[in-house]
């Protein structure tokens, strides 16, 4: 199957055609936002990181910013820097390697915020003009990467929406495309099952490693995540074991082998199903999917998680009828949990909706503009 995407110099296809106004450090967020507000066609990426962090976290932040800039949904990128925070030129070079136009403004060099907004707006307007000349083309769906996430889950997530989204992932992967999911804490209890599904023993070991690392971080704070699950609320809702809880989460990736495990901010190579290490917390988890290169995100929710992402459309899927009615302005796709259609049939419908959104159909979050809630995860603390 195919969708209508914006062709990029590296052969990728965007489902959207924004110019990214990407802040390289929290201290530059306001200037990046002012530029994005002044220039229609810009998408803002702001976050709270980029300074006062240990070297591995700084590398993680810079890797993530470079990968976000490479996302095919951006036609061009304007990096907005304070100046003292780090290797902005390296991030620029990494994005430029994808062939797209990239520029920077440095607040400390330009003499302050006003001058940076003026210069940044000038650069961004030119990039928006250039981007506006790019036309959608019909491209094979093997060029699509779906990011998968669940949040504000309830029993309908594991029993209906996640298995249906998993069936949609199976369809894309069968056609040569890619899917990626993260949320390492949600894998706890099912890591041996995921490892068994790994495409190689090395990938299996990496799955166990990222879960163990995440568990150690919580243990260091005196919190036993494994022992605390399933929680009292989970048990009341019918979940019997941590294995069952985690299976209900990972079923959203479908049934194909795991072809690779990315560190946070990395982009996978090859086709098939991938995992990216990171937290479940939504603004940071969705960033990992966008950085991996996902051009569209399938997001299942039970209770109702409303927000999207600045330059990647996020399709909200729920199987909770009350949530679908009460939060209809936020929910894109309803799975009738008691309907006669099988998860496979519903998964096909979700896949067709995904192709429609990839081809330009706006999601609820996009039409609301409920998209500017972003951050980057770090493994350690701030110093």
């Amino acid at each position: 199957m195919s969708f209508w995407g914006y062709p990029r110099p590296d052969g990728a296809a965007g489902t959207r055609n924004y110019v990214g106004a990407i802040s390289t450090v929290a201290c530059a967020n306001d200037v990046a936002r002012w530029i994005a507000e002044r220039v229609p066609g810009c998408a803002l990426f702001a976050h709270q990181q980029g300074c006062g962090q240990a070297k591995p976290d700084m590398e993680l932040v810079h890797r993530t910013l470079a990968s976000l800039g490479c996302n095919p949904n951006l036609a061009g990128v304007l990096l907005v820097s304070l100046g003292c925070e780090g290797p902005v030129d390296d991030i620029m070079a990494a994005i430029a390697a994808s062939g797209k136009s990239v520029a920077k403004v440095v607040i400390q060099e330009l003499g302050g915020a006003s001058a940076a907004v003026a210069e940044g707006s000038r650069l961004a307007r030119q990039m928006v003009t250039d981007a506006s000349l790019i036309r959608r083309e019909e491209v094979d769906d093997s060029k699509l990467m779906i990011g998968v996430k669940c949040g504000a889950s309830d029993p309908t997530s594991g029993l209906a929406s996640n298995p249906s989204i998993g069936a949609a992932c199976d369809i894309l992967i069968e056609g040569g495309g890619r899917c990626i999911f993260g949320e390492t804490p949600e894998m706890m209890g099912a890591e041996h099952i995921l490892a068994r599904r790994a495409g190689s023993p090395e990938i299996g070991r990496k799955i166990i490693e990222i879960v163990n690392r995440m568990e150690k971080r919580s243990m260091a704070m005196g919190v036993d995540m494994r022992g605390a699950n399933p929680s009292r609320g989970n048990i009341a809702a019918g979940l019997t074991s941590i294995e069952e809880k985690s299976l209900g989460a990972i079923v959203k990736g479908g049934t194909t082998p795991i072809e690779g495990v990315c560190e946070y901010g990395e982009r996978p190579e090859g086709s098939g199903l991938f995992i990216v290490d990171g937290p479940g917390q939504e603004p940071k988890a969705v960033t990992a999917l966008a950085a991996a290169g996902a051009q569209v995100i399938l997001f299942s929710t039970g209770i109702g998680a409303p927000h999207g992402f600045p330059f990647v459309p996020v399709i909200k899927v729920t199987a909770n009828p009350k949530t679908y009615q009460r939060l209809s302005e936020h929910m894109d796709f309803y799975v009738d949990i008691a309907g006669k259609a099988s998860h496979k049939e519903v998964g096909h419908d979700i896949f067709m909706e995904t192709l429609a959104v990839a081809s330009g159909k706006r999601t609820k979050a996009e039409t609301l503009g409920y998209v500017n809630f972003t951050d980057i995860w770090t493994a350690g603390t701030t110093f």
Binding site: R196, S200, G238, T240, S241, E244, L247, K340, S342, K344
Partner: protein, 114 residues
């Protein structure tokens, strides 16, 4: 690269209730090798449910009332045997569990690999 073969995506729908065909699904069996079903609505003890798994028809009379989201056994699960859903082991029976019985924390323990 070692390639593994996985069972196909099998899912069954419980379509009959007390001998009457129902338009709404009452429970779901997520994978063909599961030995339990999850209720998609509150179910009453005594209700008779027809289940179709891989073209096999099974009839189950609910021993317990099963709240929405909770699970009930489709088979005679002997003590120490594996309890399976999503095609995977989620625990072991700590007592004999009859078809139609509620499956939860009081009759399931952690499955420890040998």
């Amino acid at each position: 690269m070692a390639l593994m073969v996985y069972h196909m995506y099998v899912e069954s729908i419980i379509v009959y209730s007390n001998g009457r065909k129902v338009m709404k699904r009452k429970a779901v069996v997520l994978r063909g090798k599961d030995n339990l079903a999850a209720a998609l609505t509150d179910l009453e003890a005594g209700e008779v449910l027809g289940v179709e798994v891989d073209e096999d028809a099974v009839s189950v009379t609910l021993v317990d009332s099963i709240p929405f989201g909770h699970k009930f056994s489709l088979t005679d699960a002997k003590s120490d045997s594996a309890i399976m859903t999503y095609g995977e082991i989620i625990g072991k029976a700590t007592t004999d569990i009859k078809p139609g019985q509620h499956i939860h924390v009081y009759n399931v323990a952690r499955w420890v690999k040998e």
